[in-house]
Symmetry: C2
């Protein structure tokens, strides 16, 4: 099928291409009523639909943004993406999602591809690598917002949970229920990853505040596949923890897997709180106490900030860190 262009419409409506273009962009200021009608008709008859690629080339903007998530397997990422998409669609923006798998090499590849595709901006869950690349983008005044993680040395709008508070809430809850031997399990700390570090900080601080000494044995930070073994080691300690804080949903899965397999009763044998309000928290037995992140607001805010920046390229807004409040949802696992 022959693709029909603005020229075809122009010919049919017996006007110039410029006029058709004006019409399509609703710049009716000085357009005669009958010209308008004629174009409208021609568009209709020919079934014309504009080629956005061509427009993008000329206008140097694509109404598309890229989102690079660190790990798409987390519910958090999925929900944030959803929120971003919802917001963007309202503004007629499209989003291209890339999964960096926490790998700086992949992250770089995606950034390059996205830029080559001329996306108007990027929301990234930065891996922590590619510092110079990001600095370059910022130098070029290219719109970027970070999600969930800080990168030391890079100043850019960043959406963050109040991570310290999220673990504080959990640990306070444990302590309030009379637990003193409180463990925490997280993914590894190989490179700087904000939530992990901050949540561990929150955990330690609350212990300290209550005069409970921090027990290195009670903190497990290993790759997901190694969690079972690490849990076993920890829970067969002479004096094992009685309560466990799961750093995120993936970790919580592993803990629940373990308690099930070893027939530990929650909370009698082991109290559990998870950060991330997993889908089954409510109807699990026992219902799981969790710390919820305001995921949708966070995603929405990220999109909003990015689209704002895209809107007003010139003005040098300064970058901020936006902290969102976690909320403890008290159920029955503690």
């Amino acid at each position: 099928m022959k693709t029909i262009t603005i020229a075809d419409v122009a010919k049919r409506a017996e006007v110039s291409k410029s006029t058709v273009s004006q019409y399509l962009n609703q710049r009716y200021d000085y357009m005669g009523e009958k010209t308008k009608k004629r174009i409208e008709l021609a568009v209709e008859e020919l079934g014309y639909s504009p080629n956005i690629i061509a427009r993008s080339l000329k206008q140097k903007s694509t109404s598309t943004i890229g989102v690079i998530v660190a790990n798409i397997l987390h519910v958090f990422s999925t929900q944030v993406i959803r929120a971003i998409e919802d917001f963007c669609n309202e503004s007629n923006f499209h989003v291209i999602v890339c999964n960096a798998d926490d790998d700086p090499i992949k992250e770089k590849r995606y950034i390059d591809m996205l830029r080559a595709k001329q996306v108007d901006g990027i929301i990234a869950f930065p891996t922590g690598g590619n510092v110079d690349l990001y600095k370059g983008l910022l130098n070029d005044n290219y719109p970027v917002v970070f999600m969930d993680r800080l990168v030391p040395g890079i100043l850019v709008d960043t959406i963050l949970l109040d991570n310290e508070k999220s673990s504080s809430l959990a640990v306070e809850e444990f302590i309030g229920s009379g637990y003193k031997q409180i463990g925490m399990v997280t993914p590894p700390l190989n490179h700087y990853v904000t939530p992990r570090l901050e949540r561990i900080d929150g955990y330690k601080k609350v212990l300290q505040k209550h005069g409970i000494p921090f027990q290195p044995d009670y903190l497990v930070s290993v790759e997901i596949p190694d969690i079972q073994m690490a849990l076993h080691r920890m829970l067969t300690l002479p004096n094992p923890p009685e309560a466990l804080l799961a750093m995120n949903d993936r970790v919580l899965f592993e803990i629940l897997m373990y308690t099930k397999e070893h027939q530990l009763n929650i909370p009698e044998d082991l109290a559990v709180i998870g950060i991330d309000d997993v889908s089954f928290a409510e109807f699990y037995s026992p219902a799981l106490t969790t710390v919820a992140q305001p995921v949708f607001e966070m995603g929405k805010k990220a999109a909003e900030l990015l689209l704002n920046r895209i809107g007003e390229k010139d003005s040098d807004l300064n970058s901020e860190i936006y902290r969102f409040e976690p909320e403890l949802i008290k159920r029955a696992s503690c």
Copy 2:
């Protein structure tokens, strides 16, 4: 910052734009070694990166596909998207995800936008509306593949679960465990939605095969928010079902919510099987018997079919329906 183009590279390397273009597209056939080196150097020094939009305009292909899911809240959709993205990335394709929310109006809007953006093809979970639109696309020989749902009257490559088998497996399992009063709960049947219809068919057929009369009261098909009420009505029947098949993960959530709230023991008071192997099936108490779909293979196949079609635009491959085998994962809820 000034964007640097092929012209800048050409000037710097003291060759023509054409030659640079050849170089960039690895058409080295007749290129002198030193020309090559010079260009390479210039690209390096200027930090040149090609503008894919410009290339797309000329080449009339964007290396981007669109995916329109019916409802992004289902795990199935999320995982299919993931599989599609993985496959596409290997072929250097990008994907734009759109959520039609099961609304034909939104679906149409997205199709139009995607086409305007010149995506090379579309994978859709069709809502069932927009029949003429899809027919038009096919007439234009535009690459489309359907996922999860058939649309009557539209012949296009379609990826489907063997839905009848998925419910058959479940019902056979119930019957094998001695249950006779077997109910099923699904989302509403307002418009033609393949999985719902076929899974109900499978359910009915197996009942029949075993001489168990189909009880309309035992089949609930209502909107998700209404499921609690409908369940209550069904389970307080004088002679309620003793086993329940959940049509998908969202429905399963509701059933588990209900059993929890009303303190029904699974499987003693109510046996349950869910289609979709939910993340918590293994460590739920009791572990949930589910019917798993080969989600990743299905997503991968969809992407593969679409990219194939995009590759060989001319040839009129004929369209097929690809059925994938569900698998019963026997655990403890039945």
